[in-house]
Symmetry: C2
Subunit: 408 residues, 2 copies
């Protein structure tokens, strides 16, 4: 089945409205910065129309062409892989600190960089990570309103549904996007409000219980993730330091907090492939005192090892998140080949940078156990076969999730 | 006749190479910023490929979607027309001052803003002009290498060739572009070198003669343009303060210098329509002591009057340029509806901001007769019916152009 064209245009228009109302919480007089793939012009124009109607001072779009990355890796001089345009990242950081909102539209070919030298890719990622430090600080500390929403990029759709023709694959992906982003609900705004309330309640429960650690067990996994003293669980909407309520990820199903950078031990097996420039699957990792000391994968082991070698913090955890196996994205049974979706289908951990929102008082600088890194990459370790216990400081275990579902 | 597809791709590739080699003079290790219309993706990718092969540190593209302007004018709140994103212009200014090169790709619908309220358009132009002050200073002072090149935008092609189908109009426009940008020459690089040498010689001759004023005469025109004491004639390539040789406009046929802001008197009739957001034709203007005191037009008079009301300097001259009527663009007999081409088909004047390159020692701040404004808009006053004399301080006239051609 193909969605009729006018219906699709209406849904894209609705996605634009939700992105502004629920996502970035756009205020009258704000500038809106949109980072978008070239292919997403119709969505961007719909966003601009609704943003201006809502009183935006300006809508500024940074279109990204995936091909430019490939051209760089194909033809760039070696030194260029250690270079990134600091001025460009800092200009967005400046705009956000002056009050702009940031909306990222995700949609890319998950296989784009499959044939790129993993060391060059890692060097480039490191250079861009360093260039983006000020921007990351603002985003991580929720000092500005921001959100990420999806767009059914043709290459993404074809990678997910290789047996369908491109147009059909795109239609199919849009249907999954509309389902996951709650646009199928009779009143999407009310549906989002109820969902966010559930996530807030779950985060509040976990904040009350003050676990010392989480213990993940299941096939290939026996992992203890020590939590930062004073750690804060978050999920759903957040309120920026400037007083704006925004929802940083659409869709979102997770509650998440900060591991202690030195207190992660045991083994863990990824439950879903990880798409990060290229596809890695069957990742198996061993942690000792917070650090990955061994890592392998069925596919992409070298890419993963290059990734965790980006810097010292890249081999340590910056986030741990709980997602019920019953989440709609998980129940779709689809691998989206994209973190925005796949991390919301399963409990996960992120190697790299911790988020200020999970630090006591939002002050990551005053949290010595918080991990620092140029990267932040989520990968999925939850499934219907995974149990999670909360551990008290004295080691007492409380069941938290059984067979992938919350029991507390 | 339609250019075969592979031939077109080859020519676009050649245009990319000329833009880098002759246009911005790209150096190894430089960043390259490309401002480009959404439609010009194939040209941008070709530029990126050649730029990386030439050692670019990074190629950063700012794609612009014409529709976003229309959406803003359609749906923006009134206050938004006095707003422009300073941080965005200043980020490019920063990049240029840190060594980046700037390549602007021109291609737009000349009728895009035809139905927009001229006052809103003028307010928005003023806001963007103010936001771009630092950038203009760098560009005008040639403190960084920059260039503008054309792209055969479909709406531009259709506006020029309304009787052709879109594909045929685009092919036709590309052929005119290739001709005007000397890509038809057996050796375009050598051809550009010879052409630049001719422009340099003409500018040197005019610099030697040190005229006090120029006197334009012809149908509807009797205009004396006083020149700045110490004025500098420029044309062809320029050398940046950082020592890079670049060609700011491709194509280019003009030599140009700086009028004295208070010493322009008489009447002048535009010899070609002026396309600036919308089309103005039959412009007739009267100057007294440098200032436009009366302005009318057959089409677009209100737009023109709003334009010159942007600020005080918008009704005074910032540039006077001489172009032989025999220039290839003029001989095409076409109206390109675009300054990059049309200003190279005829002698012209620009209302608004003067250029540092025409100031003694490049120091516009030390030139009290230099005009200041947020705008700089060229319009065509030359034709086969126009004579130009150079006037000495004592009023002695020397013939400079007769019936549109140089005689000296």
């Amino acid at each position: 089945m193909t969605i009729p064209h006018d219906d699709l245009a209406q849904r894209i228009d609705l996605l634009a409205q939700i992105a502004l109302k629920i996502g970035v919480g756009l205020q009258s007089g704000q500038e809106l910065i949109v980072n978008a793939p070239l292919e997403s012009v119709p969505l961007v124009r719909a966003i601009a129309r609704h943003a201006y109607r809502a009183g935006a001072a300006a809508v500024l779009v940074n279109y990204a062409d995936d091909m430019m990355k490939l051209i760089h890796f194909d033809d760039g001089m070696d030194a260029s892989f250690d270079h990134a345009p600091v001025w460009r990242y800092e200009s967005v950081a400046r705009a956000l600190s002056e009050g702009a909102a940031l909306l990222n539209i995700f949609g890319a070919d998950p296989n784009l960089l499959a044939n790129v030298d993993p060391r060059r890719k890692a060097r480039s990622e490191r250079a861009h990570g360093m260039a983006a430090q000020k921007l990351f600080t603002i985003i991580g500390g929720v000092q500005a309103s921001w959100s990420i929403i999806p767009f059914a990029h043709p290459a993404w759709a074809k990678a997910m549904f290789p047996d369908l023709g491109e147009a059909e694959a795109v239609s199919r992906l849009w249907r999954e996007i509309f389902k996951a982003t709650r646009l199928d609900a009779p009143d999407p705004v009310a549906d989002w409000a109820a969902h966010v309330a559930r996530l807030h309640a779950r985060a509040a429960m976990l904040n009350d219980r003050r676990f010392d650690a989480l213990h993940f067990t299941g096939p290939g996994t026996d992992l203890r993730v020590g939590l930062l003293p004073g750690h804060v669980w978050a999920g759903g909407t957040v309120t920026t330091t400037t007083g704006i309520t925004c929802l940083p990820n659409i869709p979102t199903e997770e509650v998440f907090t900060m591991p202690h950078r030195d207190r992660v031990d045991g083994v863990v097996r990824a439950t879903k492939p990880l798409s990060h420039g290229s596809l890695m699957s069957g990742i198996e990792v061993k942690f000792e005192a917070g650090r990955i000391v061994a890592a392998d994968a069925q596919v992409g082991g070298e890419v993963f090892r290059n990734l965790i070698a980006t810097d010292d913090g890249a081999a340590r955890l910056g986030e741990v998140a709980l997602v019920p196996h019953a989440s709609p994205i998980s129940q779709s049974g689809l691998l989206f080949l994209n973190t925005l979706f796949d991390e919301n289908a399963a409990s996960h951990i992120a190697i790299g940078r911790a988020l200020a929102i999970n630090a006591p008082g939002g002050d990551i600088a005053a949290s010595p156990g918080a991990n620092q890194s140029l990267i932040h990459v989520d990968w999925m370790i939850g499934s219907a076969e995974i149990d999670v216990d909360g551990l008290a400081a004295d080691g007492t275990a409380s069941p938290l999730m059984r067979q992938g579902e919350f029991v507390a």
